[in-house]
Each structure stands twice: as C-alpha cells, then as structure tokens.
Symmetry: C2
Subunit: 190 residues, 2 copies
C-alpha cells in the first residue's frame, strides 16, 4: 500500500517536473524551442515517458496554461484586494495583467494566444481557467457599472483592449514611447 502511494507520488512529481521544464524552457527560449526531445533530456527520461503522462505535446502546453491561469487569478485578485473604488480596482487589475504578460510572455501565450485544447468558456473548464477569467471580468464589470455602462459588452471590450495591447506590443506593432499614454487612455476609458 505504501508502495502504491510512493509510486503515485513519484508519478505526480514527474508530471510536475515535465510541466516545469516546459514552462522554463518556453520562457527562456520561446515555445518553438520546447521540443519533446529537449523536454525529455531536461527531465532525464526518454521521450516516450512524456506520453505516459500527457496525451501529446499539446497537453503539456495546456497543463502549463492551467498553471498560469491559477497564478494570474491570484495575482489579479491580490492587485484589487485593497482597492475599494471599482474603477481604481480595475485599473490596478489592468496594470497587473499587463505586468504579468510582460513578465511571463510564454505563459501568457500558452493561456491566451496559442491554439489550445483547453475547453475555455465551458462548464467543464478546469477551475483555474474560471478563476482567471473571473479575476478579470468581475472588476471590469464593477468598473463598467460604476461608470454607468452595461457590463456585458464593456467587460469583453476592456479585456480585448488589454489582450490587444499585450499582443500587438509584443509583435512590435505598437510604439514603445506610447506605452504610458496608451495605459492612461485605458484607465480613463475603463
């Protein structure tokens, strides 16, 4: 019985080892550099071992994304925790979101940009996905209401603006000297 538990523990540790290796390699060199061979080497197993834990490379990326969602949710909640004004709270959430994306580009891509097998927006989605979305949507909705707007469209528009800023800036399509004016415009609007 103790053997079964040790085995399960080792298995879980190895799974986490794979997810961590993928994440670190992606942040260091981009997702293109995350190959099954490099992951296998990094965890000191052979390639097929990856497949005893995950259905494929996509599933590894999805696991990294789920981990990232949990962290993002926690970060956004913390950003808004001591702010009572809804608009100020959402401004704080927005700044935290942008900072997260800047600090964790590969994680951000895994969650929001890369093709994904994760069931976003469905009831079956893992809890961290719900948590991350709620951590954006709830402060956004409160801010919209405080400004007299209908929260539905505004919430999604605000998130779209954040996401657009992240992705266009990263692709070199936005002017770096307009970073602050852009964020100021964002907080003025939303």
């Amino acid at each position: 019985m103790a053997i079964k538990e040790r085995r399960a523990r080792e298995r879980a540790e190895r799974e986490q080892l794979i997810v961590r290796a993928a994440r670190e390699l992606a942040e260091a060199e981009g997702w293109d550099a995350v190959t099954t061979r490099r992951l296998a080497e990094r965890i000191e197993y052979s390639q097929p071992v990856l497949y005893s834990h995950f259905s494929g490379k996509d599933a590894i990326v999805a696991a990294v994304a789920v981990e990232g969602c949990a962290e993002l949710a926690a970060l956004l909640r913390a950003a808004a925790a001591d702010v009572t004004d809804p608009r100020e709270a959402f401004a704080a959430v927005a700044r935290a979101y942008l900072a997260f994306a800047e600090a964790n580009p590969a994680l951000y891509d895994a969650i929001f940009t890369l093709p994904s097998t994760l069931p976003f927006g469905t009831p079956e989605a893992p809890a961290p996905l719900h948590a991350a979305f709620a951590a954006i949507a709830e402060p956004a909705a409160r801010s919209a209401k405080a400004a007299g707007h209908d929260p539905g469209g505004y919430t999604e528009l605000a998130w779209s603006a954040l996401h657009g800023m992240v992705t266009l800036a990263r692709n070199g399509r936005l002017r770096p000297d307009l970073d602050q004016p852009r964020i100021d415009a964002f907080t003025a609007v939303f």
Copy 2:
C-alpha cells in the same frame, strides 16, 4: 530582349502563383496546412523552386501579408470614404476591420498575429504596410480628437481593442452573444 521580358514576366507570374496558392491553402485549411510540399504540388513545380523566388517559407507568408495589407488599406479607406463625421467614420472603419478579419482569418493572422520578418513600424516597411496602418490610425486619431482626447494613446488603444476582439473571439474566449454589445461599446468609446 523580348525573351528577357518573357522570362521576367513568367517569373513574376510564378511568384504570384506561389503567393496565391499559399493564401488560398491557408484560408481553406489554416497556416499549419501550408507546407512547402503542398505548395510545390499545388503550383506544379518541385519544392526547391519555391526557394528561387523566396528566401524561405517565412518570406512566402510575408508576401501574403503584404498583399493583405494592401487589400485591408483599400477596404478601410472605402469604408470611411463617404462619412464626414470623424466618429462615424472611425466606427465604419472598425466594422470594416472586424469584417475583414472575419472574412479572411488566415490573411489577418499573416499580417497581425504570426511571427513575421516584415519590418513593421519602420521606414523601410513596404508601402502596403504603411497604408494599412494609416487607414486605421488616421480615422482613429480624427475620432479621438473630435472627442477631445489625445490621439497618441487613444489611437493605439482603439486598435488594440479591435485586434483583441478579433483574436480572442477567434480563439473562443469571447461570448458570441456579446458580439453586438461589444461592438456597440467600442463605437460608444472610440
């Protein structure tokens, strides 16, 4: 001399054939399906012929993107052509932009989403790139000014919101039932 011209003409036609094949295949099946083998088969040449026209697959995608920029620019200019009110003109541009993205997902990705070798935002960028960006930025700036905002940050924020809406919606991260409220919110803000 006439032989030289015929050769140049044939070469240009073949180059255009490659770009068209890539574009059609991408729109039909996504960029993942655009492989050098499939392109070569489709234009009825062997693979290495692609490399006598383009430095690599990236360059083919870039050529598609440049073509798409020209079309987008023309479309956006046409959308705003008969609208005198700056805010209405930009609303029309926004709708045209969203419609373009929806009608041409692969083209949109080639321009705005995929890693690119194109020198966006530099003086050396091909004219269609400048034209497409100007066709977004100029109406946006006029709309911002008409509303009493500083155009710099607002212009880029507006574009970020559009781009965010396109990409998040495509990835299934936005609610389809909020499509219209989201666009209404956009035009109310920008």
